[in-house]
């Protein structure tokens, strides 16, 4: 999980105590359109393809 938000301008994440709360928050933000990925050249080889980057 370390490289997912490191060296990223404007990286955002939020911690939750339960999995359901984290899921609710994430999908709510996704429905609003606040979820996006920040990729640099060569990140596909490290983090996988962009099509699989967003849950």
């Amino acid at each position: 999980m370390f490289p997912l938000v490191s060296n990223i301008l404007g990286a955002r994440y939020k911690g939750f105590a339960t999995l359901d709360a984290a899921k609710d928050y994430y999908f709510a933000a996704k429905s609003v359109g606040k979820v996006w990925i920040v990729r640099d050249p060569g990140d596909d080889q490290v983090f996988g393809p962009e099509s699989e980057a967003i849950q």
Binding site: M1, F2, P3, L4, V5, S6, N7, I8, L9, G10, A11, R12, Y13, K14, G15, F16, A17, T18, L19, A21, A22, K23, Y25, Y26, A29, K30, K34, V35, W36, I37, V38, R39, D43, V46, F47, G48, A53, I54, Q55
Partner: protein, 239 residues
């Protein structure tokens, strides 16, 4: 300045010097002789010619063995046998006292350095305190401690009483038992309180909205903490 009075110049004639009477005739008048003797003493003091009996000068050996000049550091003591020492050192050496101090493992090195810096004896580490869950429990039959002595034996009780008396004999506050320490102990260092705080320990799930990958991830805050170092405009919130 030394002023010498001579009633007779016979002693002066017996020595060889630049002021020898053969090369420098001395006057016969007594008053003039006194004045001349005073002048000679002044010149001898200035030039250093061994014409008059000198006072013993300090040689190198005598300087080495002579006492130091009196100042703040060499203030004479009543007892010359005991060299001046720090009160803390003499107190610890003369009357050593054992004090049980609970020190965290992370702070032990800093405390040792501080004690060494102030000239105090280092801490004697007895043993690491085990966790309550890992502490050995006595069985129904009792473990044999103290070189085979049972914890309920008289020798064990005597030792316990002696140690308890030692901790309170100097008028100090009794040492708090380890079992009564309740509060969480946090490690020192930047971000360490955030690292082990109960609030962050409860956060096991993280929703990454903006990052290399997004989604819901489970991880400890320990793993997630380094992620914030190089992230600009990082917005963190928790429930």
């Amino acid at each position: 300045m030394a002023v010498c009075l001579f009633s007779d110049f016979s002693d002066l004639n017996s020595t060889v010097s630049p002021f020898h009477p053969k090369t420098w005739p001395l006057p016969k008048d007594h008053k003039v002789g006194l004045l001349f003797a005073s002048l000679l003493s002044v010149l001898t003091t200035l030039i250093g010619t061994p014409y008059f009996p000198k006072l013993p000068r300090q040689t190198a050996a005598a300087t080495a063995t002579s006492p130091l000049p009196l100042n703040f550091c060499t203030k004479p003591n009543n007892s010359q046998t005991n060299p001046p020492t720090l009160n803390t050192t003499s107190r610890f050496n003369a009357n050593p006292q054992l004090l049980a101090v609970y020190v965290e493992r992370d702070h032990l090195a800093n405390i040792q350095n501080a004690l060494c810096h102030f000239g105090l004896p280092p801490l004697l580490v007895l043993e690491d305190m085990p966790n309550d869950s890992a502490s050995p429990q006595l069985g129904s039959q009792g473990d044999m401690d103290l070189d085979g002595q049972s914890p309920q034996s008289s020798k064990y009780l005597e030792l316990t009483e002696s140690f308890s008396a030692l901790s309170t004999s100097a008028g100090l506050a009794p040492v708090t038992p380890f079992t009564t320490r309740t509060g969480p102990i946090f490690t020192s260092g930047p971000g360490s309180s955030l690292l082990v705080s109960p609030k962050n320990k409860a956060e096991k799930y993280y929703a990454i909205i903006v990052g290399k990958c997004t989604g819901v991830y489970w991880n400890e805050w320990l793993v997630l903490l380094p992620l914030m170092y190089c992230v600009a405009n990082l917005n963190i919130s928790s429930v």
